[in-house]
Amino acid sequence: MSLSRVGVYVCHCGTNIAANVDVARLAEFARSLPGAVLARDYPYMCSDRGQALIREDVSEQALDRVVVAACSPRMHEPTFRDAVRQAGLNPYMVEMANIREQCAWVHDDRARATEKATRLVASAVARAVLLEPLEERQVDVEPGVVVIGGGIAGLAATLTVAEAGYSAYLVERSGSLGGRVRELDRTYPTLDKVQVVLRELVSRVAAHPNVTILLRSSVTSVDGCVGDFTVEVKTRGANLGEGVDASRDSQTLVVGSVIVATGFDPFDPRRKPELGYGQYPSVITTLELEQRLAAGDLGDNGAAPRRVAFLQCVGSRDVQVGNPYCSRVCCMVVAKQARQLRGLMPDAEITVYYSDVRTFGKGAEEFYDETRAQGVLYRRASVSEIVRSQNRVRLVGEDTLLSRAIGVEVDLVVLATGMEAGADSASLSAMLRLQRSPDGFFLEAHPKLRPVDTATAGVYLAGCCQGPKGIADTIAHAKAAASSALIPLLRGSVQADAATAIVNPALCANCGLCVEECPYGAPALDPFRGVATVNALLCQGCGACAVVCPAKAISLQHATACQVLAQVDALMA
């Protein structure tokens, strides 16, 4: 290994690293490491100038390996792989030492942080010396996208993909498109008739030649990886009448990307029994009021309610029911509905019981102002329970501004129920290898920088399946998801990671443990040769097989046993 020529680059990351780690000392230390031929420190390694530095050294100093001591490889490993590729080196000859997240950001004792950084760099160099070039594979991208869920998010994503010239398959569980929006009357802050907007969107999607709509359908399995997903869809018999086998039709779609747009479930207020929902007919949800408003029938049998109460935050911001988050839309939904009722019942007393009002977004606070101006009273009192009072119900709570216990008799109570992750999120997340945040919704790859990507390349999130949103945000999110999903399609081919498992057939005993262990179905036993083989397209490089293999026949490229052990030895030295 004395033949290797490693260049080490220590990044300051402005002051992010330099403030807590002595970067000059670190570079000096790196020069002394076996295999290292040079070490430099530089303010921003990821900048154009920083990358050029690496490229120049690779050609002038004949470096064959590069170690960058900087941030997380999740952030910039692709950047530095590109840099060495351009200089003619194999991109797998780069190793990163994370001295920012794992060191500078988490310690404040500069001397000890520097000491830790030296170990991380020593470890990275020890591994770099053992790196092997790997052949990069190009995968042709299938020119289509599967969109799961035909709510407003799925519709917007489908249309964007179709208009870009690619095939879009829209898989919707129910018998119609539009999701929850189908049940709404008007939308805030403009009070437009929402069905008009929805109808137009649905007809544009349905009429588009690139779109295939699969109603009453669900995805039963997803295999493959970005560029080449195989998606099984099962369709329940259409218009076959009762008593007919429901699982008649299934088909296989092969696409480059998948967009998940499965939406939300409304909170079931029966889980707050103190509010008497399901017990008193005059206690309803905002969704039910929405349906009544859309139908033009308030369900009051003509006896217009004299006193109406809206209760905010039901099932949101509530750790007792496991929903610590704010559902984001209900404040505005309440303002909208209160305004509509105000118009329909000029003599009624309409009060919103709140503990905080959150009317962010364009035109929203102005809408709230106008709602109050039109005579809707906002009372800072979060209702604790609802009890019967003859033929009305009584709200029991505290007016927190008056510090006074209150009991108010009302004719109609509307519970602003929040949003929850869909009931089948768990099975979807298993099928698509999607992570979920603690709130149950699907987790995006980065809350700010990658809001529609997921940890699985080629799978994207659109709309409320990622977290509560109003229609405008949902559509923006869906269009972003569609443009991300289009990137591999537009490029035509994607690079598949070469860090996959390989089998040494001379050692393989054909025991099949790897086949059992792999979560992605990549290894299989070859019946003719009597050994295991790994399908590199399916392998995600997790290493589970390499660990279980008793014969040590499987190894994970780019994380071989000797590479990992050298890294650990250097850390412990």
Partner: protein, 394 residues
């Protein structure tokens, strides 16, 4: 008193001042008790004079506030901690002091002689001494042991346990106050002592199950003692279990319309709502009707949180009075309870309201006695003399 230590210890910074605690607090409707605004006071002011808040003694520890808080703040526990500050300073209502002294000296808050603790047995068969080993330990509790009105309950239960063939025993005169009310009156030190002594006594019996008369004993023994493998049950749970396993069956019709009042310490504290109803529904001829406010919304009778020994700042207006009206409105002729304190407060309220001809307050155990045709009488000789301690408020 400096507020900061309690703010941190009770994690009051989690409070968003929504008001659902005070909103649900049954005492906030009749006294100055406002736990939400107390929390706010703690948050904004560096010092608090606890003695200026005598309404802290109004709290019944019903736990409605704990049940309702969307942020898991546990407001009632702040009240207990503030009472603790008052206990530390020694400035507490006289009656509270007497009750604590009674527990310390005689092992019961009424301060009645320890030797009389088995008086509840009356003319019934003497139960086995648990100290000699038993499978099921019956923890009778202070009020059911001493109060003539309540003694019918343990006497019935002892008979039912025998009839069902259980191997049960009691601690006899060695039984001590469980400390549930002591803890809630803020005397943490005395409570700790009781937990240690009773815990030792209980473990020594080798019993695998422990059953209590009172939901208050149940709450303390189940949630605040570390009894390891000993399974703690309220008697309604045990009866429901015996019925479900065919070890107990009712053969006598009890043709009554019954409404059941959920005690806070079974319901809101422990979410035990169905077992007492299962027992009542198993009684032939009995018709169970519900009050509007049932289960999670059951109205507190004002018997808990030490209130049997502290009359509070507004003794005239009683929640128990409202509760018996609600019960009467159902058309029931029996208001069933499963807690000795509820039995006393609600029975008293029925008398005050003049509803005796219409509504009878009975413990579930007493209805069970009827259904089993057990001979349970109320007359067991002269009422016991109280050596120390004040009169109960009701």
């Amino acid at each position: 008193m400096r507020t900061q230590p309690l703010v941190e210890q009770m994690e009051l910074m989690g409070c968003i001042q929504c008001g659902r605690c005070t909103g649900g607090c049954p005492l906030a409707r009749k006294t100055a008790l406002n736990i939400r605004s107390l929390i706010y006071d703690m948050l904004v002011a560096p010092e608090m004079d606890v003695h200026a808040h005598q309404e802290l003694w109004d709290c019944t520890c019903c736990f409605t506030c704990v049940e309702r808080c969307p942020k898991d703040v546990r407001p009632a526990e702040l009240i207990i901690a503030l009472r603790g500050e008052m206990v530390e300073s020694g400035r507490i209502p006289e009656t509270v002091g007497a009750a604590l002294m009674g527990v310390f000296r005689q092992g019961n808050p009424s301060g009645i002689a320890r030797e009389d603790r088995s008086a509840w047995v009356g003319d019934g068969p003497q139960p086995k001494a648990a100290q000699e080993g038993c499978e099921l330990l019956y923890f009778v509790g202070c009020s059911p042991s001493y109060d003539p009105r309540l003694q019918t309950v343990p006497r019935t239960l002892a008979r039912v346990f025998s009839q069902a063939g259980t191997d049960f025993g009691t601690l006899g005169t060695e039984e001590n106050c469980c400390g549930s009310e002591v803890q809630r009156m803020g005397e943490a030190g005395l409570f700790e002592m009781l937990v240690e002594e009773n815990g030792e006594l209980i473990r020594r019996t080798g019993a695998s199950r422990l059953v209590t008369t009172s939901p208050h004993c149940y709450t303390a023994l189940k949630n605040e003692y570390a009894l390891g493998k000993v399974e703690v049950l309220h008697y309604t749970q045990l009866l429901a279990d015996l019925l479900a396993h065919g070890q107990l069956a009712f053969d006598r019709e009890v043709p009554r319309i019954v409404t059941y009042h959920d005690p806070c310490f079974l319901g809101k504290h422990n979410q035990i709502y169905e077992e007492p109803r299962a027992v009542l529904n198993a009684i032939p001829g009995l018709q169970l009707v519900e009050m509007d406010r049932n289960r999670e919304r059951s109205l507190c009778c004002e018997g808990g949180g030490g209130r049997m020994w502290a009359e509070g700042t507004n003794p005239e207006e009683r929640l128990s009075a409202q509760r018996v009206e609600e019960a009467a409105a159902t058309g029931a002729d029996v208001l069933a309870v499963a807690c000795p304190f509820c039995l006393l407060t609600l029975e008293d309220a029925v008398k005050v309201a003049g509803l005796e001809d219409q509504l009878r307050v009975m413990d579930v155990a007493e209805l069970v006695a009827d259904a089993l045709d057990l001979p349970v009488t109320n007359q067991i000789g002269a009422p016991l003399a109280r050596s120390t301690g004040p009169e109960r408020e009701c």
